[in-house]
């Protein structure tokens, strides 16, 4: 029990569009243990991003239960959810979502600002993380001066800023060419090897196959739960 990081029971998410209802998630049951590397695959519109947003405490479910590290997330206030996002979760988005007016270094510092890490420590850690993803020389560049692969590496460094347990990556290679894509996948695998729990969302079977477990999702339901044998 102690080892379960994510516990999802009967989770639904319904978007109401006027008269119409979209059941983006329709009765999801999912357990993810600490240190796992799970990929969630499914066609576009199957509900992957919706699931990730709820796991990441960015969005709230319509019904069902979601426990993160044993905590019932429905009992948390907005501020507590923000604290969770800040310290426990690192997001990597398909479109990077870097702040354009800031340098790579400043982008990586951002989560630490919200956590209240002192300036000097913050700077040192951001430099260390950028060095780790191989961007030592590009620290003072802005996102528009970086290639897609480099931007995604900045985003990964940012996701690691507050040393979260959980890394959520939504189609991290979706906007990249295959070479940068495989570089990013290499970094993500290394993160998992170092102990981070990784949930990777993708519609690409080849990418999904690099995880240790694949969860297939269709029309908001889980189809199968398959363990990849290396």
């Amino acid at each position: 029990m102690d080892n379960i990081l994510i516990k999802i029971r009967n989770l639904t998410k319904i978007y109401k569009m006027g008269e119409n209802e979209v059941r983006a998630l329709d009765g999801i049951n999912l357990d993810i243990e600490k240190g796992e590397f799970v990929s969630i695959v499914g066609q576009s519109g199957s509900g992957k991003t919706t699931l990730m947003n709820i796991i990441g405490c960015l969005d709230v479910k319509t019904s069902g239960e979601y426990f993160l590290n044993g905590i019932d997330t429905s009992k948390l206030s907005d501020n507590q959810l923000a604290d969770l996002r800040c310290s426990e979760i690192g997001f990597v988005f398909q479109n990077f979502n870097l702040l354009q007016k800031m340098t790579a270094l400043e982008n990586v510092e951002l989560p630490m600002i919200y956590k209240g890490v002192p300036t000097k420590e913050r700077r040192q850690r951001a430099q260390m993380l950028l060095e780790m993803v191989g961007l030592k020389e590009r620290m003072h560049h802005r996102p528009n001066e970086l290639s897609g692969g480099q931007q995604q590496r900045v985003a990964i460094a940012r996701a690691l800023a507050n040393n979260p347990h959980l890394i959520l990556a939504d189609e991290p290679t979706g906007n990249l060419d295959s070479k940068s894509g495989s570089e990013i996948m290499k970094i993500i695998k290394e993160l998992n090897e170092r102990g981070n729990t990784v949930v990777l969302i993708t519609h690409d079977p080849n990418i999904a196959a690099q995880a240790k477990r694949i969860v297939r999702i269709k029309d908001g339901r889980i189809l199968e739960n398959e363990v990849v044998t290396p």
Binding site: L58, D59, R85, S87, L98, P111, G116
Partner: protein
């Protein structure tokens, strides 16, 4: 998040769009400038008017006689006995008429000639530039002497020294014995265009002994009220209880009347300027709303990375406070310079007071806060998912 970080973000955002930030601040700059300049000029003119009124003479009491029925004026004796009082230092009845003054070929039409006695100089604090003023002996001797206001002297004599020269007032000869100092125009009236002759000489010159105006100096500021009461009861006896037959005014009454007028005026000017500050605030709100919309995605990212509502709120409020505060500071500088320039052009001391500066600055900051809260609140309440999806 600490305030320092919020301030850094605000400054960065202001700098990243300099032209827009400047235009936004312009509203506040103009507002603060207007408040400071208008209030300072209002206060400056009040001070100048006050000092003008005080220069009419200290402890001054003026009596105007309108009369009652057949008795439309006082006789000289009735007027001069008012001096039999412990509270009155000096008294001069005045009779005025209008004449044509001539010296050689130079003439001045419609000049006011005042018949006054020897007390008049001290009552009105009159400064003599050359020669002397009317003396008691001139009055007793009904001397045909005249003291000229500075403008009259210049128009009649040009560069010639007038002292000892003979001028003609309506054809009658008078010897010039003194010239008054230039006083400049003033709301209290100016003697620059007047001529003074002895009162008793005036009786014969104007063929008129009716006293309708008396200038009185009380012994001290404390006795002004007592003197007024005494004069009032004496005149009531003469005019058989008719309070409308005469009017007694002292300097503090004039001062308070004028002050209440100028205070109202200053308030009005300040209010109008305040409205422009308010309009500046609406400009800030407008730009902040645009900025929130433009930065929806940024807000979504910040929230995903762990920013709380209050972090976003603080970021945008500090941004609008910085805009309004900077605008306020620039407005203070421009307003200060403008007040000094306008003040020297209007010949008044319009140096802005510290309280004017502080009040208008705090008002600009309050405006920034007030109009910044709504956009900031809007930003803080954005749904992170929708904000992240925003293109």
């Amino acid at each position: 998040m600490r305030y320092v970080e919020a301030l850094k973000i605000a400054i960065r955002s202001i700098l990243s769009n300099k032209m827009r930030s400047f235009l936004t601040m312009l509203g506040i700059i103009i507002g603060v400038t207007a408040v400071i300049a208008l209030v300072s000029i209002g206060q400056g003119s009040t001070r100048s008017v006050t000092s003008q009124i005080q220069s009419m003479g200290s402890n001054l009491i003026m009596v105007n006689v309108m009369g009652r029925g057949g008795e439309s004026s006082l006789t000289y004796d009735q007027a001069i006995v008012l001096k039999d009082s412990n509270f009155i230092a000096a008294i001069s009845p005045v009779i005025s008429t209008s004449v044509t003054a001539m010296y050689g070929n130079n003439s001045v039409d419609n000049t006011t000639v005042n018949g006054v006695n020897g007390d008049y100089q001290s009552i009105r604090d009159i400064q003599v530039a050359a020669g002397r003023f009317i003396l008691p002996m001139d009055d007793e001797g009904r001397n045909r002497v005249a003291v000229l206001g500075s403008n009259v002297a210049r128009e009649l004599f040009g560069f010639t020294d007038p002292i000892g020269k003979t001028i003609k007032l309506n054809g009658q000869n008078f010897t010039v014995v003194g010239i008054l100092s230039q006083k400049g125009s003033s709301i209290a009236g100016s003697d620059d265009d007047s001529i003074f002759i002895p009162l008793k000489t005036m009786f014969y010159f104007a063929k008129n002994r009716d006293i309708r105006q008396i200038y009185i100096e009380a012994t001290s500021p404390d006795t002004v009220e007592l003197a007024k009461n005494e004069i009032n009861s004496k005149l009531l006896t003469i005019f058989k209880g008719d309070t409308n037959a005469f009017r007694i005014i002292d300097q503090s009454q004039i001062l308070s009347t004028v002050n209440s007028v100028t205070a109202t005026l200053s308030l009005l000017l300040g209010g109008i300027a305040g409205i422009s500050l308010l309009v500046g605030g609406i400009g800030i709100m407008n730009i902040m709303l645009v900025s929130v919309t433009e930065r929806t995605r940024e807000i979504g990212i910040r929230k995903a990375l762990g920013a709380k509502k209050k972090d976003i709120l603080l970021q945008f409020i500090i941004e609008s406070l910085t805009l309004s505060g900077l605008g306020g500071i620039v407005g203070i500088i421009v307003g200060y310079v403008l007040s000094m320039v306008l003040g020297s052009a209007m010949n008044i001391n319009a140096k802005p007071s510290l309280s004017t500066v502080l009040i208008s600055f705090s008002f600009s900051v309050i405006v920034g806060l007030f109009f910044g809260v709504y956009p900031a609140n809007k930003a803080a309440n954005l749904n992170p998912i929708e904000a992240l999806r925003y293109e």
